[in-house]
Amino acid sequence: MEYLIGIQGPDFVLVAADNVAASSIIQMKQDQDKMFKLSDKILLLCVGEAGDTVQFAEYIQKNIQLYKMRNGYELSPTAAANFTRKNLADYLRSRTPYHVNLLLAGFDETDGPGLYFMDYLSALAKAPFAAHGYGAYLTLSILDRYYRPDLTREEAVELLKKCIQELNKRLIINLPSFSVRLIDKDGIHDLEKLVPVGAK
């Protein structure tokens, strides 16, 4: 029911997540923010089982901040992604595995932008674009068709809008709004919330 998407450009990463917090058939909240700020240039998008998502994401968030306090410098996006994956893997075969699907997006001074896809079995893959949720079945092919490594920011937002329009048209459940953020060398920027209107 939940949806996450990330698109990496030459010098930025664009990410979006839906805003619904649901419990069985009821939407309990329509303005839930599923993005967690790990550091000035790293965002963690987290969906999955109720309770696990916030708990795991906040645990990773606080540990990344602790690392910065202890050592004086921040973890790079690659290191943060691998740290997250390691934690997921450790808990996977414990009595309390975390059932969460993640996208980690970040910008590194030396390596540039990075988008990492992680699933609840703690698989990790660096990808130019990625999506989670039932919506991914509809939108990954759109990303395959129209993605280019040299997208500008505006083109990336247009591609994102195309994906969301497709969800609005074909997905059986209604996702009324999406939070959008962009990460580049200047940090994390909040973009306008996307609200798909009407069915075509």
Partner: protein, 270 residues
């Protein structure tokens, strides 16, 4: 290496020893390590999985949240309305159960799900809130109180707790309303309803809600929400207990029988 320390790598054997615990110690919060009372040698989550519909053995323990509770924020504070039916399967154990716990004069908690779990954990929350006030010389915020309750639930993940609760209060950030449940969900919002009658209550309060209602209109909306939900839901009923959370604390507004209210509302339809 810094990352090695932070990643907290533990060998599998060490992990198992830590999670099963070494003897019965009760839940305690605060500065010391949290320890949870788990029966030694038993795996609660594994046992419970075998009792659910999907498990083998044909036994099915389905925990129903047989209740309707609702709360919503508006201009003049927060309204809390609950029903009072306690059901044990299809038997009505009590028609005047108290589903609102008065934690302190500026914090309320509602209960739905297992009565035992709600009463115990919310009373424990009341104790923690009091300790916080004694230690820090200021009232606990609604956000912190709900986080405490949520963490208590997360400590017993998968072990069969059943609790859907709302924490309502007024602190220096203004009126606060949080939904906390047994799988660790904690949501802040302007309107929530819990229990198996919640969908019916949402229908009524969503369509009649305005942010600028007068207190009397808000009381009426809360009463309506519970009454119409109890009319349709078999597991909700009894009386409506209505509270109003204001800046200087909560007041109990009324306690009215739903069977009388439904006749008033549906005059001419029966």
């Amino acid at each position: 290496m810094a990352l090695f320390d932070v990643s907290g790598y533990k060998s599998h054997l060490e992990l198992r020893k830590n999670t099963l615990g070494t003897g019965l110690r009760h839940f305690s919060s605060g500065a010391t390590n949290q320890e949870f009372a788990v029966p030694a040698g038993i795996d609660p989550s594994g046992f419970l999985k075998s009792c659910s519909r999907e498990g083998q053995g044909g036994v099915s323990i389905d925990l129903n949240h047989g209740t309707t509770t609702l709360a919503f924020k508006f201009r003049h504070g927060v309204i809390v309305a609950v029903d009072s039916r306690a059901s044990a399967g299809s038997y009505i154990a009590s028609k005047e159960a108290n589903k609102v716990i008065e934690i302190n004069p500026y914090l309320l908690g509602t209960m739905s799900g297992s009565a035992a779990d709600c009463q115990y954990w919310e009373r424990l929350l009341a104790k923690e809130c009091r300790l916080y006030k004694l230690r820090n010389k200021k009232r606990i915020s609604v956000s912190a109180a709900s986080k405490l309750l949520s963490n208590m639930m997360l400590g017993y993940r998968g072990m069969g707790l059943s609790m859907g609760s709302m924490i309502i209060g007024w602190d220096n950030k203004g009126p606060g309303l949080y939904y906390v449940d047994d799988n660790g969900t904690r949501l802040s919002g302007c309107m929530f309803s819990t229990g198996c009658g919640s969908s019916y209550a949402y229908g009524v309060i969503d369509s009649g809600y305005r942010e600028d209602m007068t207190p009397e209109e808000a009381y009426e909306l809360g009463r309506r929400g519970i009454t119409h939900a109890t009319h349709r839901d078999a597991y909700s009923g009894g009386v409506v207990n209505l509270y109003h959370m204001q800046e200087d604390g909560w007041i109990k507004v009324c306690k009215e029988d739903v069977s009388e209210l439904i006749h008033q509302y549906k005059k001419g339809m029966f």
